[in-house]
């Protein structure tokens, strides 16, 4: 079987080296959900400043004149956008497309994508990290939290897989 993507083991090694350099250079792991949160925080701060300053949650991001948009995790997100684009351009995969099982409609796919995203990032905020921030980076530093998050994400996705099989196959 031939695929147009990089060999998964090679890609995994590449990703591992990126993670290792993040650890070596800045002592942190990778993270994606955190960047999304900072985007939201800065939008809320721009739209409704009094609300942001009053709320227990938002206020800690504005202490001492911090700018949530200029943050390590937000920069990672911008980097991911750029890096993904470069990779897509190199491998000629740039194309507007809705990817789904032929059995379902575009609307259904988009609705599920939206709900899925909301669920995922909500859970990631609760667990203080997503697949990259908690599970992948956590495992690389042998943190128990990383292993537990990894097992629960994949374990529960397997449990729920049966209900959503129409979406994918």
């Amino acid at each position: 079987m031939k695929t147009k993507y990089m060999n998964p083991y090679l890609a995994g090694t590449l990703l591992g080296l990126v993670l290792l350099s993040a650890m070596y250079i800045s002592g942190r792991g990778l993270g994606a959900s955190g960047g999304l949160k900072y985007c939201v925080v800065s939008v809320v701060g721009a739209v409704d400043k009094p609300h942001a300053e009053k709320s227990v949650y938002y206020s800690k991001y504005f202490e001492e004149g911090q700018k949530p948009l200029f943050n390590w995790l937000t920069m990672i997100i911008f980097g991911v956008l750029a890096g993904g684009f470069v990779s897509g351009a190199v491998s000629k995969r740039l194309q507007f497309k809705i990817e789904k099982s032929p059995g379902i409609s575009n609307t259904r796919r988009l609705i599920f994508a939206f709900i899925g995203g909301a669920f995922f990032v909500y859970g990631a905020q609760l667990a203080r990290g997503c697949t990259s921030g908690a599970a992948l980076s956590g495992m690389a530093v042998l943190s128990v939290a990383g292993f537990v998050t990894m097992i629960t994400i994949f374990g529960s996705a397997y449990l729920f897989a049966w209900f959503f099989r129409k979406n994918w196959i």
């Binding site: 959900s33 390590w72 990817e99």
Partner: protein
């Protein structure tokens, strides 16, 4: 001795630039691995494509082994590398919610952003949903805070839980991963869906 940016007086703009560069590497490797395709990611849970497992474990183990060698050679102070803090309830409940989100949306946040960058419209909706989720969390934070802070255990390391050296735990993890890779490739043959894998 690393981490480099922990040196006092390290300029903030350079720190952010480095974050951007690391992000590029991150996005590039995710896209190259095929994580910009939701059906490839979802294949993990139906057995027809197990790339997720292979890439995920390979990456974690490469970084784990690499960091320990760097530390052995005195190049990296692992005490200064962030170890995720363990909140038992939050990790488990959050993990379950993330699992549900994964199977519905077909991405995780990192792969979603990476897929969005090459023009996947479903990924765009996924990321918008993610922003909504973050907003929702911020607004419901007072309600969920007790759960989020419950059963705090601190930055526990798993090898300390088992009482073995980090090196030995790494070896056991590699052995487990090697077994999983082998099973995964068998599963790919058993649950093969050439109609899907040919398409993605």
């Amino acid at each position: 001795m690393g981490p480099i940016t922990s040196a006092p007086g390290f300029p903030v703009w350079l720190d952010l630039l480095i974050a951007f560069l690391i992000g590029i590497g991150f996005g590039f490797s995710l896209e190259q691995a095929g994580f910009s395709s939701s059906r490839k990611l979802a294949g993990m849970f139906y057995g027809y494509d197990t790339t997720v497992l292979k890439v995920f474990f390979t990456a974690a183990i490469v970084a784990l082994i690499g960091s320990q060698f760097l530390s052995y050679f005195g190049l990296l102070n692992l005490n200064l590398v962030f170890v995720n803090e363990y909140y038992v309830t939050a990790s488990i409940v959050g993990g379950v919610i993330m699992g549900a989100g994964f199977i519905m949306g077909g991405f995780c946040p990192g792969t979603g952003v990476s897929a969005m960058s090459i023009g996947k419209i479903d990924a765009l909706f996924y990321v918008l949903g993610g922003l909504a989720g973050a907003f929702l969390f911020a607004e419901t934070y007072p309600l969920i805070q007790p759960l989020a802070d419950n059963a705090y255990r601190g930055p526990v390391k798993i090898n300390d839980v088992f009482g073995i050296s980090p090196g030995l735990f790494t070896l056991l993890l590699v052995i487990a991963a090697a077994g999983m890779f082998w099973v995964a490739e068998l599963a790919e043959k058993k649950f093969a869906r050439p109609d899907i894998t040919g398409e993605i």
